[in-house]
């Protein structure tokens, strides 16, 4: 029997970390981080977990300490947000290239400036090519569930990549909502014990971690990282299946919501998917064949699978909660349009940059996107595919 609770997204993430009980948590427990390290440090003080909590002096050090711990053979976790992640940036790449399956809870917030601490995905989009697995979460439940699956995916011998679980800052991180928790012993059994094959504290096998990787080797190592990211796809599906057996909650690369017979659809990530489901239901009641594809696994990017799931649609809008400022389109839009092109699927696609810096996204705005899609379908015209939703024009 699962436990009926009500928790904020931050509390949900901290609870998952408590139940995982990692060997090391290194975090900077004040802004720009989240309440997560603060809650977790309480569990440490109370003796609820036996984690070694390293209260570092900066986010750069937080990631460095995780790298040291994980390389030594420990299971390490951290949590951050926005500019905290920015400060980690150098070490983010070191973590993935050293193939250290560190798990991070990332509460998505705007990377300043001008100074803003509210929700958007600019922090996550800044590290999308850093070799981390990236899972996105619609609500507190998914943030919790994704964290429980994280180590099983990251630590798999065919993967060995760090993983971040994203959720929307404030919108879900600070909102109290219902959640179903697993019992501690079930989590412990599911997550299992970390048994690294190679690690620094193994006196039987002296190794070096992170030495100079010259022209003759780095390319091959990057190629292996890329292969690991491909392997992650299979592992993510396997772990998700096993998680479904345990909880009844089904996860895949993405969620298709009333998409099968849809004619128009929105693609988005995190909390906006919930608002979109609400709108899809309302439109369906009016006989409009609207659907949603919610991306859960953003890295590795399930290009073929998404192209296949969207191929029957008459028009699609991709919503990006970060502007790439590239005069071409948001990151999710570019990934999805590329996927469609490569799969030779011709579906008119538009992009909306929305919700920047915590701008609220209303159900009416989401409805207006479906209205725009209907217009594209009826006129056959697609003008200005790179659009904005909810921004003042003057």
């Amino acid at each position: 029997m699962s436990i009926r609770e009500r928790l904020s997204g931050n509390e949900a993430a901290a609870t998952a970390m408590k139940q995982i009980n990692p060997d090391v948590v290194a975090a900077f427990p004040i802004t720009p981080s989240t309440e997560i390290p603060q809650y977790f440090s309480t569990f440490v003080s109370n003796g609820t977990v036996d984690t070694n909590f390293v209260a570092v002096e900066s986010e750069h050090s937080a990631m460095s300490a995780c790298i040291g711990a994980e390389a030594a053979g420990a299971r390490a976790m951290t949590a951050t947000s926005a500019n905290g992640l920015s400060l980690m940036w150098e070490m983010i790449y070191i973590a993935s290239s050293l193939r250290l399956p560190i798990v991070m809870s990332l509460v998505n917030r705007a990377v300043s400036g001008p100074l803003n601490i509210h929700c958007d995905h600019s922090d996550a989009m800044g590290v999308r090519d850093s070799g981390w697995i990236m899972l996105f979460s619609e609500n507190n439940q998914e943030a919790y569930d994704n964290l429980l699956m994280a180590h099983r995916i990251a630590e798999h011998k065919d993967v060995l990549l760090p993983l971040m679980v994203c959720q929307d800052g404030f919108i879900t991180s600070h909102s109290i909502e219902n959640i179903e928790l697993l019992e501690d012993d079930k989590v412990k059994e599911f997550v299992g014990t970390y048994k690294p094959e190679h690690y620094l504290l193994n006196s039987e096998e002296p190794i070096a971690v992170g030495p100079l990787d010259v022209q003759a080797y780095l390319f091959e190592h990057k190629r292996q990282q890329a292969e690991a990211m491909r392997n992650a796809k299979k592992v993510i599906l396997e772990v998700s299946k096993e998680f479904e057996k345990l909880t009844g909650r089904s996860y895949s690369f993405f969620e298709e919501y009333r998409l099968e017979d849809a004619e128009i659809a929105i693609v988005c990530m995190n909390s906006t998917a919930g608002t979109t489901k609400f709108v899809v239901d309302a439109l369906r009641n009016q006989g409009i064949k609207a659907g949603l594809l919610k991306v859960r696994v953003f890295r590795p990017f399930p290009a073929e699978e998404i192209a296949s799931a969207l191929s029957h649609l008459k028009a699609v809008a991709v919503l990006d909660k970060a502007d790439s400022l590239n005069a071409a389109g948001g990151a999710l839009y570019e990934d999805i349009t590329s996927a469609m092109y490569i799969a030779q699927k011709q579906v008119p696609m538009i992009n909306y940059v929305y919700g920047i810096g915590g701008r609220d996204t209303t159900s009416k705005e989401i409805e207006s996107v479906y209205t725009d899609l209907q217009k594209i379908v009826s006129t056959g015209k697609l003008e200005n595919p790179y659009r904005y939703l909810g921004v003042r024009s003057k």
Partner: protein
């Protein structure tokens, strides 16, 4: 009760509107409902206007946006009636609950265009008499429970007992006062006759 009730709180930083919205979510959760409780975070300053929200539903809640067409509005500080459009989007079959000591005529004037019913309570009086200090959020929480009918008085009193034990574990001396504040507020909330 409707399938989904949406509530918007207007208060000032330091008055506990955010805490009240979280306590309301807690109380509704304990009666088996699906809930959301979330503040709108801005620059955090004592006295600055702030907004918090609740959704209470019989089915899972998916929408993640602020509330623009609330069933109920709670105003924790009556000076906000001058500066914040508190009745914006309020449903015609909804209601507003204001903390004020200024009486019905004041409310009728300030809320002349209010689409829903108007209720009021002197939360300062309740708070001073029961807690000896001005904490308007507990009386306002009781007032909105009463007006919205989310749960019965008995359910609410029983539930808050547990919440207070938990919330004030380190300040047990305030539990009795809060208990009295709730009980008194449930009786004190009045409707403006139109």
């Amino acid at each position: 009760m409707k399938d989904v009730i949406e509530i918007r709180w207007h208060g000032r930083g330091g008055q506990g509107a955010k805490t009240a919205s979280l306590l309301l979510a807690d109380a509704a959760f304990n009666t088996g409902k699906y809930i959301q409780g979330f503040p709108e975070y801005g620059p955090e300053r004592m006295g600055a206007p702030l907004t918090a929200y609740n959704r209470i539903s019989t089915t899972p809640i998916r929408i993640h946006s602020n509330i623009y067409e609330p069933d109920y509005v709670v105003v924790v500080d009556d000076t906000l009636l001058e500066s914040v459009p508190v009745t914006d989007g309020l449903k015609a079959d909804g209601a507003i609950v204001v903390n004020t000591a200024r009486g019905e005529d004041f409310l009728k004037e300030k809320l002349a265009n209010c689409p829903g019913d108007i209720y009021y309570i002197d939360a300062r009086k309740v708070s001073m008499e029961t807690l000896g200090k001005y904490f308007p959020n507990t009386p306002m929480l009781a007032a909105i429970v009463k007006v919205s009918g989310i749960m019965t008085d008995e359910e609410f009193l029983k539930d808050m007992e547990g919440s207070f034990q938990h919330k004030f574990a380190k300040k047990p001396e305030v539990i009795e006062g809060n208990r009295k504040a709730i009980a008194m507020a449930l009786q004190e909330v009045k409707k403006v006759t139109k």
